[in-house]
Symmetry: C2
Subunit: 437 residues, 2 copies
């Protein structure tokens, strides 16, 4: 009888990995989590499905079109499209049970029904950290977050990256001083400078009725190139008296000072007056992170300061600062760039114990002892000849095999085979365990 | 201006935790993962959303009504309701890229729009391990999985639990020998014995036109109570010649033998002839796990052997054995039973460094060094008096605080305060680091 076979396949825009890649992916996620935790961030986990009226409380925007929204029974549901909105809801909902500043990390999948294209996923992991204050939050937090990101990228072996820092108050104060009225539109335009270049930005500004003088000043501002000290000096020399501008420059100076204190290397961060993160809700410090050799990849980690996280859910004033690594995208970009080590094993197993005669019980006992010593161990349980069993180890990339026949059982000396070097030894179990320590 | 405030709330049937519980929950998940990995299982992660035609290929059943199913664009989508169907799809889809036996674990959220009731969640974590063979799979694997579960429950500090083992071939061979025709219905009835008792089972069997003699034999069978050896002897003494029965008894004997070899304590597993997992697709070994003192909780970890995992997606024969821990439910049950340690801290932080004068840079530097030594460290970055800062540590349950004023900076001797004992010392940073090792 032939059953009806459904072709096994995934929806477009959804990623899943084969074992070798999955192990690398999980290793990256573990590193991110470990650094977040080493800085004392609290884990948080919220449902992937929430009430649409809650998730979409802010309303409007490009995001809303991408939402996976549906009904079940009487409920209007949506899948979360980021981890920031659930954080806002969580903090407002549990306000009285939390201690502030509330410092949490959350690593989880989010969903956006974007147009399917290379490197864009409809389900992807975000790895967020945020610090939320009750009414107030020191700007030193704004320096701490990129410092944590610095530690993570170092852990991931990415040394040639740069964290770009700016402050929205500086930009908007600068616009204010120029007498620009349609700030949002101008912000949107200069936000594109990395993609379209300064000349096109200037043309677009002209189209928006910005004066020649202002355009030249904006061009000089967003083209500024120099050290952090030089950037701060440049800003001061603009002699702008706008209150927001002065505050922004002070904050920027503090963030630079404390990033150094937190141990970020000077080659890994820079004031960048052209970054604005135009369409986001940031109100102070903003961050982006680029790979030095691959600027075309764009920002691999962004974030910033927001004045009021949960304004849709509470009248309390909850300023915060947050930063997010889009891990699914980062993984796929690093893989495409060839920056992930190739030829990874498809296994976590360190030792495969292989019975070559009727020695299964003995093999299982050896494996138990290896595991007691925290050595990742498998026993080959299937029938077959030794070649078949070694082939299994070889295909997965298991580095070590212990062969156990009657002779090994009698002598207590096991045949220990190292796949990488091809070496083979006769060793007692204790000697083998010592080799792993 | 008053903004429109949306009341922050979750959908019924969705769980989220406050920090102290979340930390305990994650600790349990880490333990499960670590044991799975120590046995060399490969991590796997599949999308939460799949094509409905794929996820529902099997069709029918109670589950289908519970599915979160919706359209997006032209696509008919469903949220996964378990991790077994995605595993079947994954293995069939990537057949040629995988090495068999394929041993994977997967920890992830699944979705079932069940009627909302206490202890039942619509989004919950499952922690699955399965071993899939290509055409064949040794029954020793059936013994390995409950042994891994044994290790996990020991790690979780649950010592008084019992893994119940049976074999579907034994049951169906027994029915065959009795000449019972509507086996599925009888299976469904005896599956309820723990809930309704033997007398009601007998009554229901009678309603289903089972003969008096057969009912008595079935009652004796499902009421059997004795050691594993006694159970195997009991089965042999039935003198049933049905091939499936004999095979089942042999398998059961092997599973018992190898569970001992894998190190499972005799008080933690038992042959239990009444468990059938009636409505599932199991064909051989079946497992359930109960807490000795809380039988009313039911099975906290179940699984079994299936002949053909991916029959809806491929004509290849892929026998497997799997077991699953429903972590969300387990956590909530253990919490309700008071079996989780209470009064847990709401933090992972081991040390809070507190500037008591203008010593922020110094404090940050100390924190950097503590983290370099893998000590989870936070600096209190906000303004305020010492009491406010200590209150923060106290509320979160941070055990240690380092106070740094001008005096400490000058002398290099820091004030190290232990919250649990109230002790306070003057120590150098090196001495503090040593205390944590």
């Amino acid at each position: 009888m032939n059953k009806q076979i459904v072709k096994p396949s995934l929806l477009p825009g959804f990623m899943e990995l084969l074992p070798a890649d999955q192990i690398v992916f999980n290793g990256m996620m573990d590193k991110i989590r470990n650094v977040y935790e080493k800085y004392g961030f609290i884990p948080m986990d919220t449902p992937a499905i929430e009430k649409s009226e809650v998730l979409l409380a802010k309303g409007g925007g490009e995001t809303e079109k991408q939402i996976y929204r549906f009904n079940k029974g009487d409920s209007d549901l949506s899948l979360r499209f980021d981890l920031t909105v659930p954080l806002a809801r969580y903090v407002a909902q549990h306000m009285n049970e939390l201690t502030f500043p509330f410092r949490r990390y959350q690593i989880g999948k989010v969903y956006r029904g974007e147009k399917s294209q290379k490197g864009r996923y409809r389900e992807f992991y975000q790895c967020d950290i945020d610090i939320i204050g009750n009414e107030k939050l020191s700007v030193i937090n704004d320096a701490q977050l990129p410092s944590i990101i610095f530690s993570i990228f170092k852990e991931l072996g990415l040394n040639e990256f740069k964290i770009h820092i700016n402050n929205r108050k500086v930009i908007s104060g600068f616009f204010e001083a120029l007498g620009i009225e349609n700030k949002t539109e101008v912000l949107r335009i200069i936000d594109k400078v990395d993609k379209i270049g300064v000349d096109k930005v200037k043309a677009e500004l002209k189209d928006n009725a910005i004066s020649y003088e202002s355009i030249e000043k904006i061009a000089e501002f967003i083209s500024f190139n120099g050290s952090n000290e030089e950037a701060l000096a440049f800003l001061k020399e603009l002699n702008i008296t706008d209150k927001s501008f002065i505050e922004g420059v002070e904050e920027l100076a503090k963030v630079v000072h404390y990033m150094e204190a937190f141990g970020v290397s000077l080659e890994n961060f820079i004031i960048d007056l052209k970054i604005a993160r135009g369409l986001d809700y940031y109100t102070g410090t903003v961050f982006e992170t680029t790979l030095d050799k691959y600027p075309e990849v764009g920002s691999i980690c962004s974030g910033g300061r927001y004045d009021n996280l949960a304004e849709n859910y509470t009248n309390k004033n909850l300023p915060g600062v947050g930063i997010s690594i889009g891990l699914t995208r980062l993984f796929s970009q690093l893989k495409d760039l060839g920056l992930l080590k190739g030829d990874n094993p498809s296994t976590l197993t360190e030792v495969l114990v292989v019975p070559v005669e009727d020695t299964m019980d003995y093999c299982i006992n050896i494996a138990n002892k290896l595991r007691e010593n925290n050595i990742v161990t498998e026993v080959y349980l299937e029938e077959g000849n030794v070649n078949k069993k070694l082939k299994y180890a070889n295909k997965l990339g298991i580095a070590n095999v212990i062969l156990v026949g009657g002779e090994e059982v009698n002598s207590g000396l096991l045949t220990f085979k190292k796949f990488d070097t091809g070496e083979q030894f006769k060793l007692s179990l204790d000697e083998i365990i010592k080799r792993f320590k």
